[in-house]
Symmetry: C2
């Protein structure tokens, strides 16, 4: 028999999963806005973020009601508390996509990215979508193997981020300080997006096994 | 009569408060490490961060036990959930101080900061300490007026951050791209430190009044 607890937990989990998927979609669109200097795409990401913020409120409310009325303990309590923490990470992922879109909008109609780094951002955008999708799936499946996949995607992001820095630091860089500042911030936003997905994956492993995933 | 609930909540609140104070202290020291290219000070911030991370675990454990054994509802539940969220922000504040210290260490024995921006960072460090102290006090006092003070300090931080960007973007900037990249990241770390303190202040207002503080 499905209990009220499990129904409410499923609602919470589904909202969290949807938030992760939407954050990935937002980063995908923000990356397109960046690559194509596409103002309407940037505007869409900025407008759509309200939805993610609204879902965060809903999820927090669901978790609150669940704790108040069902008083879960042990593993069930751990799931609810973990979901509450994951919701904060998912919202932040959406917030980072928003920041990327805002930089694209601020520089429009100019392109933010010199040609040397377009490929890096296209690839970081692709990895971000994978991370959003992995987080979306793993909070539902609670599959530790799938959670480990997130760490591999994060490694790919870190490598891209490092390569990006190498390009910036190259003495051949001729696009000036203003472009370097934008690109530094943008790189940081993608890196943080990945970090939050990693946090979500770690919590899922912890909830499933009681063990903290390394490193 | 003091109940077990109130004793455990007080332990949780005290740990959170201590974490905020330590995060402020860490940012103070990280700023000194940056201004003086002081390697041992940077190392101390990096080592001390383990303590903040350990306190986060303790606080999460206290909150978990409290939820499991006391099943608080209504305002009491809101306090526990809010504290759990605040603990994540306080840890992050410490993490941002750690990032600042790591940049100081990475560039040692060189100074990261050209003279034009030393004053900005000295001032951002000062505001960060104020923010840490305000957060430390407000989670205990739950005083809305004190929470509003955090917003004012955040405004000061935003203004300093903006001024820092103006210096970077100035056509007179002659310290190259590598220094600009470091300073962009550093500026972001101080700004985010302030944002997390603001989040803590907002939650305290919400817990005290049930109203979300604007904007």
């Amino acid at each position: 028999m499905r209990t009220a607890f499990h129904e409410q937990l499923e609602t919470l989990t589904q909202t969290l999963s949807d938030m992760c998927g939407l954050a990935g979609l937002a980063m995908d669109r923000a990356t397109q806005a960046l690559l194509e200097a596409d103002l309407s795409m940037a505007e869409q990401v900025i407008t759509d973020h309200d939805q993610i913020a609204e879902m965060q409120k809903q999820a927090e409310e669901t978790a609150f009601v669940l704790l108040a009325l069902q008083s879960p303990v042990a593993g069930d309590l751990r799931l609810v508390v973990g979901s509450l923490q994951n919701v904060a990470d998912a919202e932040r992922m959406g917030g980072l996509a928003l920041h990327v879109a805002k930089i694209a909008r601020r520089r429009h109609p100019n392109h933010v990215l010199p040609d040397e780094v377009r490929g890096h951002f296209a690839e970081m955008g692709r990895v971000a979508v994978e991370l959003g999708d992995s987080a979306k799936d793993v909070v539902v499946s609670r599959n530790s193997t799938q959670a480990a996949e997130i760490s591999r995607e994060d490694d790919a992001m870190d490598q891209l981020h490092q390569q990006l820095f190498n390009v910036l630091m190259d003495s051949e860089w001729k696009h000036g300080v203003a472009a370097a500042v934008d690109i530094t911030l943008l790189g940081r936003f993608y890196e943080r997006f990945a970090d939050h997905a990693v946090e979500i994956g770690r919590r899922v492993v912890f909830e499933a096994t009681g063990e903290t995933a390394g490193p």
